[in-house]
Symmetry: C2
Subunit: 177 residues, 2 copies
């Protein structure tokens, strides 16, 4: 078993996936691991599909490029079509309930849950869908500890939004159970 | 001549180089180019040397890894020792005035200027050394337009700090002239 875990977080521009990638990498560091976080942008970045990639490893990471993600998150259909189908998936797929997965895609585990609806209706802010997603990822993989994830989030979110983000994270834990 | 430009931004943790990398990549996008931004963290990341890498290209970027930077920024001696010496440099080196460069290192151009002192004394906030650095990089390379850089900074800095950051950017332009 490899001690390197690769994640691809995808969705629409403006869904906070860059922040999610940074927080996840920083949580890995708080757990004493190595991490890389990569954001790739094309001219279509504004509004179109966006992805953020993270590698967390017990040892130094040679190449920051994610090739066969152990986990792929897709919050929108466009992101799923663009970023899931291109790889041979042997890992976990996490998608919003509204996303349809091509039946040809192979995976070990699919988690299809109401991420955006939970952010919007339960927390009251669609923008925290990224934090709900992090909760799902942590609960499903244990790739970082819950303590590290909570600290990493509190280090990066705007002052005054701590409680909201903590609720979003906990809703993510619940969705993955 | 390659149409791909690779940059490595290094310094100490807490100097805002992740933000500088994100802003630079986003400025590239505003100019209609492709970009990647990668942050690598080791367990020593807290307080130690930190680096953020950016690639800006006219066409899609195959590998987000910076191998032979066209420009390397180092704000601290530790970062210069760690991140300049490892590469064969054929490009531009930008360092703070207090940083000594190993005489064995080859470069096309060295810009050694008071980045941190300018941030601290002229702008009044050491934390804007990252934005002063961006001003130097833009003036020295034209890798992104000044209009795109200004918009990208204003998109990312906290509300209320726009004027401060604009001054920091302009001080960087002046230092590189």
């Amino acid at each position: 078993m490899s001690n390197q875990f690769e994640l691809r977080l995808s969705g629409a521009g403006g869904q906070g996936l860059l922040l999610a990638g940074i927080v996840l990498a920083e949580a890995g560091i708080l757990d004493g691991k190595f991490a890389t976080q990569t954001q790739s942008y094309g001219p279509e970045a504004r509004g179109g599909a966006s992805k953020s990639e993270v590698i967390i490893s017990d040892s130094e990471i040679d190449y920051p490029e994610v090739r066969t993600p152990n986990l792929t998150l897709a919050l929108t259909q466009e992101a799923a079509d663009k970023y899931i189908s291109k790889d041979i998936i042997n890992g976990i797929i996490v998608v919003d309930e509204r996303v349809e997965i091509d039946p040809a895609i192979k995976y070990e585990k699919l988690i299809r849950v109401p991420i955006i609806k939970t952010a919007k209706n339960k927390i009251g802010k669609a923008i925290v869908a990224n934090i709900v997603s992090l909760g799902i990822i942590v609960e499903a993989t244990n790739i970082v500890s819950k303590e590290a994830m909570e600290s990493a989030i509190l280090n990066r979110v705007p002052k005054g939004t701590e409680k909201l983000n903590r609720m979003a994270l906990e809703s993510g834990y619940e969705l993955a159970k």
